[in-house]
Symmetry: C2
Subunit: 332 residues, 2 copies
DNA sequence: AATGTTTCCGCAAACGTTTGCGGACAGAAG
DNA sequence: CTTCTGTCCGCAAACGTTTGCGGAAACATT
């Protein structure tokens, strides 16, 4: 159980005071170049690194961000986290990742832990059952900025970074119109989710406005399995017609694709397939599925910029919405 | 920027000393029941929580574990982390997740950060390019136990928890023999990875021993895309024969399935498909792919148990290998 | 009454940093 | 020779805990 080098040890070996060492290490103007050099050399040699606990105790600032997500098995969050990490590294911050398991109670515990640790900031995708927005707002009182992303609360006066649900739905609908497909089966998620509403409404609106003659049927599924069942039961009535299936999310897409394979159909000849996706699942099939991308990494850089603003003192809340882009596979 | 309650504040309001409060809060026998009650009541009221930085500075112990993985977009790691978290919670530990991005340099930085934070223990799946095992062993000097899992170093004298590569390969091979399939295309990963060697050798051995008449061809792919290419180029010569494709991992499976779909083939009629997998990808297809499961959650509980032993003082290194189980889809 | 034993509590040091303040010394200006 | 302005550095307090030690009071024993 060896001991890490401390300011004290360096000071003793150099016969200077602790404060001198401390200052030398951060290039304080009070320190002569000569002393500065010597200190930094020894520190390098000894592999000195400040004890973060002591620093925090003293300064009340931990150079670390927390990212809180409901689940890790999600390509979108993964790419979001990646970009946050990369940016953070450049600014000398580290990031720790928390997983709420979509449980508001665990989410609260994590929040408490963040408070005690005095993290410099929190990026959070809230639980689908989170309704106590109160505790998040309280973080501000403690001087900890909170940036919501992806799954954000309804409450207006907070910082939110969201994917452009409307825009993604718009792109998908436009693509369908462009391909001149007369019949569309739209499979959406849980009716209660705001994300579902946004995507559904826009999708419907575009199709009705720009493609008047298009026949659209929409259904809702709350899970991958349910999406599979629904698709399976609906598919027979469409076979033979020229039609496309639109899947609102990766989860839905996974289920629907299973049904489509099961029926022995294959895109783009028997039907068209198009989705809104984070970009992982569509690549697993041949042809790859055409999708409107909700980019986690782009959202990440946007969120990070906003965070840095908050830390710099900008207190006014803002909602940023990221645009989507269409990635053409060969499925439609 | 409000202030958290401290021992001092409680002490002042109760006109006792700080030490009395500290001891009362942890039921020290020196404290009278009367005083203890009062202190605990006020602490509850004020929502007191010890400042973890001060505690650590004093005691040199943080009740938190670190889990380090190359990537988060991996169902196996995901389930591993879940089970570690669940166990940890029961013991009053929290866990922080680090992501090395499969970069040994970042891995080193993470390790350093863990050292400074004096985490109570580290669970790590090393980078595929990690060869400097030295720094991991040094953690022991600092009193931080390290448990390797999944991707483990060759070095013997350390704690390793691995999936049963041999056993999984064995199960897959046995299944092929049982189904009486005469021709097998085995697609494996990078030749240099120990995991590849273990799976390849066992797979080959079982097939040769128990299924003498089986014709086995093995190839190697270093990525999903490469697996797709190889499969694509090889498939024509097998069509018509009764054969099966064995994929060593999820990554390979993803690539191969794309090629198979591209050729318009479908399991189990045109060919058989079987894999070693963490259980996510196989469920995306219809029929679901039959696979030998490498269970992250089981590995997690095993790793955690080992960790608790280490913390309790057991210093002797041990390698634990988890057995696999066959999950039948309908692909073979 | 003197001594021993409990019970309960406070003092103070320590963990490793940061930082305001003041002091020693040098050279410059008068 | 005094005074002044820098330059460079050290003292000491503070952050919030934990814990060994010692001490006061109360009570029990000779």
């Amino acid at each position: 159980m060896r001991h890490s080098p401390t300011l004290k040890k360096i000071a003793e070996r150099l016969s200077v005071s602790i404060s001198t060492v401390s200052r030398a290490l951060k290039n304080h103007p009070d320190i002569s170049p000569e002393t500065g050099r010597k200190v930094k050399e020894l520190a390098e040699l000894l592999e000195y690194d400040p004890n973060p606990y002591a620093v925090n105790l003293r300064t009340h600032s931990s150079k670390e961000f927390a990212v809180v997500v409901p689940s890790l098995s999600n390509f979108f969050y993964h790419s979001f986290i990646s970009s946050i990490e990369e940016e953070a590294r450049n600014y000398g911050y580290s990031v720790i990742i928390y997983r709420s398991s979509n449980d508001p109670k665990i989410e609260q515990e994590i929040l408490k832990s963040c408070r005690h640790k005095r993290v410099s900031g929190i990026f959070i995708a809230i639980t689908s059952e989170t309704n106590d927005i109160e505790s998040f707002l309280k973080m501000d009182v403690h001087g900890i900025p909170v940036i919501f992303f992806d799954k954000v609360p309804q409450y207006e006066s907070c910082n939110k970074i969201c994917v452009g649900d409307e825009h993604a739905a718009f792109l998908a609908a436009k693509e369908i119109i462009k391909k001149d497909i007369p019949n569309v089966l739209g499979i959406f998620g849980d009716r209660n989710m705001s994300i579902t509403k946004a995507r559904l409404e826009k999708f419907k609106a575009v199709l009705q406005q720009d493609g008047q003659s298009i026949n659209l049927k929409t259904v809702h599924a709350r899970s991958s399995a349910e999406a599979e069942q629904i698709t399976l039961s609906l598919l027979p009535e469409w076979i033979g017609k020229k039609f496309a299936v639109f899947c609102m999310s990766d989860e839905i897409l996974a289920g629907s694709m299973k049904a489509i394979q099961r029926k022995g159909l294959s895109a783009p000849v028997d039907l068209g397939v198009i989705a809104i996706s984070d970009g992982m699942i569509p690549l697993l099939f041949y042809p790859e599925i055409t999708y409107a991308e909700t980019s986690g990494s782009k959202l990440g850089t946007l969120a990070f910029k906003r965070m840095m603003r908050c830390i710099a003192g900008s207190s006014f809340a803002q909602t940023i919405i990221d645009e989507s882009k269409l990635v053409a596979g060969g499925s439609i």
